[in-house]
Amino acid sequence: MVTDLHQSAVASPTLEKTKERREWLRSLLIGLVILAAIATIPAYGDPSLLHTWTLIVMYIVLAQSWNFIGGYTGYAAFGNVAFFGIGSYSVGLLVLVGLPFWVGLIVGGIVAGIFALLIGLPVLRLRGHYFAIATLGTAEALREFIAVKDIGGGGGGLMSLPLPSLDAYPFLFYAFVGLSVVCLLITVVLVHSKFGYALIAIRENEQAAEALGIYTYWYKVGAFVLSAVPTALAGGLYAYWATGFDPGTVFDRGISIEMVLLTFLGGTGTILGPIIGGILFETASFQFQTSGLNLHNTLLGLSIVLVTIVLPQGLIRLFQEFTRRSTPGLTLANRFMEGLRRVRRYITANGI
């Protein structure tokens, strides 16, 4: 522990180096611990709990995927539910034809990836507002298309799948958790890879990134495709789990927004942000649901308003600000107060 004031002012390289290397490792471990804890849910034998947490983990996966394009690359895609729906309908259609469920899953992932590539090529030339609305519009257009063409055959695109056997439910739950672990690993690897640095550079200053030799266009497309695949897989799993859905459910733009909110709440461009945000918001949301009122949209809207006004940088960053070491040698209580003060300053500087 550094006690000399002078030494701390000239942040000693070796100390910082080990701290930095530990930081992402720490995030990875915390993430794994959290997911492991969640993975014990089936052991409680409570089906409604399993039901709730299956959806919560699904939302975590969606947030983690969005983080790739929205958090790390800084391109706010508002239509990622399109990939979710593609995954759902792929599984739905192929299961109805008689193919095993996992075939639909893989096909869904591939189709979504190709779709992301095709849509990404024109749309990623756009910036800011335009990109966001274009992605939003794509999802809406796709929803409309599937509804009008009545893909799924149930009228307006309704899809009804055979019920899975009862022990499929824990299996699906574990599949979601596994997917989340994979996303976590990808995020961790990404952050320290060349690809990740390119994305961060694009987010921070796209013009400077280009001046440094980064072929920004292709990295953006890559991130977009990367965000599409886990989302589609989640959609596929959902289709099998829910057995019945229509375009309005799996292409619901509220889902696009919710994954954005979750990531923002936790912290965009962080490893743990989507997980933390997902857990916090979704548990609150399900609490409200059990009380009988259909206030989900109100809760979502209100949360968005609050998060954007008060803490757009997310809880993880707030926490980092809280624990940032400044003057050494303070007592624990003083450090706590100092942390609070710093947090408040951070909020007022960035938010309001």
Binding site: A11, E16, S193, Y197, I200, E204, Q207, E210, A211, L212
Partner: protein, 287 residues
Amino acid sequence: MFDVISQPTAFSHVSPLERENTPYPSFLKLMDVTKRFGGLPAVDTLSFSVRRGEILGIIGPNGAGKSTVVNLISGAQPLSSGSIYYQGRDISCLLANRRAYLGIARVFQITKPFMELDVRENVLVGALFGRHQMIYSAAFRMAEELLEEIGLAHKTHFKGDQLTIADRKRLELARALATGPQLLLLDEVMAGLTPAEVTEAVELIRKINRMGITIIVIEHVMQAIKSLSDRILVLHHGRKIAEGQPETVLSDPKVIETYLGKRYAQQQDQLKQVNTDMLNEGAQYQM
């Protein structure tokens, strides 16, 4: 540290050639380059060449088009007409990132380091994506080396918003150098520096040039540009109005006129006349 004979350093790709006295083939050549914004040309049929290994200074009053020239050379903006040749190759239509890959690097006027990355990671990005497309470990080492040379080694873990202005400029410079450039474009990098920092910056730029990197410097700080440049180019309204050795250019009445107005130029003329008269008188007196 800059000894060419030592083991490969960050700059070992560039051979510090003697400056070629032959004007051809030129390292960088602009031919009738024009850039229009709407109807107004920011740069108007500009032509000039840069020799390999030299430092070319570009000066001119505000709005003369200096930054636009840098944008055009680096590829940040497309040309309206004309062409740019780099090492004999027409780069007029190439994207900025392609030009970076070919060895053109630029430092922006307003420093904008990558804020969420620390100092070392900023430079790392340059090393990973520049001319050499290094693998992670090599890029890492290169970044550390560069930071050492540039004087930021003790701040490798500082984030962008924790640096002073001078340090931010150093960081931008290090980041640009990490791409392994052969041509470096410096756009008003001395803005906001104290006189002491300016002297340091001049030294640093000379150091970089000695490694064989051709440099184009845009500046308003006359002292710096005078001591740095091998040649100076003066722009006004997007046109070249003077080109040559610093002394000649800076005492050219046309140049003085554009900076300080016609009356001042006339005053300077009169002063010069008075001085020569006095000298002659003094000489006569002596005799």
